[in-house]
Amino acid sequence: MSLPHPQLDRDGRLQHFLDMDGLSRETLTEILDTAETLAPVGERRVRTVPLLRGRTVANLFFENSTRTRTAFELAAKRLSADVLNIDLVSSSTAKGESLLDTLRVLEALQADMFVVRHPQSGAARFIARHAAPSVAVINGGDGQHAHPTQGLLDVFTIRRHKPDFTQLVVVLIGDIVHSRVARSDLAALSILGAAEIRVVGPRTLVPADVTALGGRFMPNLDEALVGADVIMGLRLQRERMQGAAVPSSGEFFRHYGLTRERLSLAKPDAIVMHPGPTNRGVEIAGDVADGPQSVILEQVTAGLAVRMAVMSMVLGNRAASNAA
C-alpha cells in the first residue's frame, strides 16, 4: 500500500474508525471489552457517563438511514456529547457541491467527531484524509466497502454466546458482493481467528475471490449449515444491484432462505443473526427471526455499547496524543 492508513497513529492507536484494516486482535478485543463495560450504563437510572461532555459529534449522512443515525446519536448522547444531525442527502452536495467543499463548510461546526455514511466506497477514508486534522471520523458505512461498527456489534454479540472464536464455524448467507456489512464481518471474524467462515449464495452475489476476504465459498446452503455455530443472514441489497443478480426474492428464499428445517441442520445451539432490516420471507423465515436461536434483537442493543466504546476510545486516544 503506498498511502499510510489514516486510522492508526504511529503507535498503532485508533485515531479514526474507518474499517478493519490493520486492526490487531488485541485492539479489537480491547474495543469489545470496553463495550462490555459500557453496556450496563443503559440499565441505570442515569443512562449516561460524562466521558464526552463538552464534545460535539456531527452525524454526516450522505445516504438515508434513520436506524444507524439514531443509533450513533444515542451512543453519543449516552456519552454526554452534543449531537448535530446534518442531512446531506437533499442538500447542496446532492446538487453538485463537491465533497471537499462540503467538508470545508462543515468545519464551521467545530465538531470533534464526524460520523459518516456515504454511498461511495472509500468515502470515509477520503473524509478522514481531508477533514481538519482535529476531527475524528467514524465510518457509518461507505458504499460497498465497510460498516465497521456493524462488524463490531456482530462479533460482540457472537462473543457473548460463544466466547472462543477459534472454535467457531460461521456461515454468511446472501448478498456479500454488495454488502459492506459482510466485508466488515468477514474482516472482524478473520482477525479474531474464527476457525472457518463459510460464504453461501448464488455466484452473482458472492465475489469470485472471496478468499481475499477470508471466506470459503460453498454453493450449497444445506451442506454449509452442517456444523455451523453462527448463521448470519445478509440483506439483499437491491438498491446496489445492477443487472440480473437475482431473478426474484421468491427464488432466493427457496434456495437460500433460512427456514426452520434448514436451521435444524446446524448445531442445536447455533445462533441466528441478521444486521437488519430483516426481509422476512426473503433472507429469513419469520419464525426463525423470532425464534429462540435468534439474537437479532441483541444485535441492536449491542450496537449502542460498541459505538460508545469506539467513540470514547478514539477521542480518548486523540486527547492523550495531544497532551503528550
Binding site: 480491547e30 471489552d33 470496553t34 462490555e36 463495560t37 459500557l38 453496556a39 450496563p40 450504563v41 441505570r44 437510572r45 442515569v46 449516561t48 457517563v49 460524562p50 466521558l51 470514547s312 476510545m313 477521542l315 480518548g316 486516544n317 486523540r318 486527547a319 492523550a320 497532551a323
Partner: protein, 166 residues
C-alpha cells in the same frame, strides 16, 4: 521504600471496625461499596469484619475520571457491579488510599448516576496529605504525610502497605 507489615495493617483495620459498626447499627440498610481496585480488597476485609450480611458492591470509575482529556480512556476491568438499589440507602464508600480526592469525586459522581443514596460515609485504609479537593475521610485506618513523589500501595495478598518512590 518502607513497608508496614501485616500486624500493623491489621491494627489499622481494627481501628476502623468500631466507628463503622456504630454506623451500621444506626443505618441497618448500609451497603459497602469498594472503589476498584485497591478499595475492593479493603471493602471485602471491612465488610467481613463489620457486617458480613450487608450488600457489597464494586465501582469502576474509568468513565468518571477527570483526566480523559489528557490521558484518554483508562483500561477497564469490567462494568461496576452494584446489584442492589442505592436509592435512600446508607453507603460506606471504601478506598485503600485517599490522596488528592479525585478518585472519590469520580466515585461519588458515578454513585449518584446509579441512584440517590441517603448518606455516604467515606472509609479509607490510609489517608495521606496532599488533598486537592475538599474531600476528607470520615474513617481512616491511618493518616500520614508522604512526599508527593512517593506512592502508597496496599498489597492485599501480602496484607502489607508499601511506600516507595514513583
Amino acid at each position: 521504600m518502607s513497608v508496614h507489615d501485616r500486624t500493623t495493617v491489621d491494627g489499622w483495620l481494627a481501628a476502623m471496625v468500631g466507628p463503622l459498626t456504630d454506623f451500621v447499627v444506626e443505618h441497618p440498610d448500609t451497603a459497602f461499596i469498594g472503589i476498584r481496585r485497591g478499595g475492593v480488597d479493603v471493602a471485602r476485609l471491612l465488610h467481613r469484619r463489620v457486617a458480613p450480611d450487608a450488600p457489597l458492591g464494586e465501582l469502576d470509575i474509568a468513565f468518571y475520571r477527570d483526566d480523559f482529556g489528557t490521558v484518554g480512556l483508562h483500561p477497564t476491568v469490567g462494568p461496576s457491579l452494584i446489584d442492589f438499589d442505592l436509592h435512600d440507602r446508607a453507603l460506606i464508600l471504601v478506598d485503600d488510599v485517599l490522596g488528592t480526592g479525585r478518585t472519590v469525586r469520580a466515585a461519588l459522581n458515578e454513585l449518584f448516576d446509579f441512584g440517590r443514596p441517603a448518606r455516604v460515609l467515606l472509609a479509607v485504609l490510609v489517608e495521606r496529605e496532599g488533598h486537592e479537593l475538599p474531600i476528607r475521610a470520615d474513617v481512616a485506618g491511618h493518616r500520614l504525610a508522604v512526599p508527593a513523589d512517593h506512592y502508597i500501595d496496599f498489597d492485599a495478598a501480602a496484607h502489607e502497605v508499601r511506600i516507595a518512590l514513583r
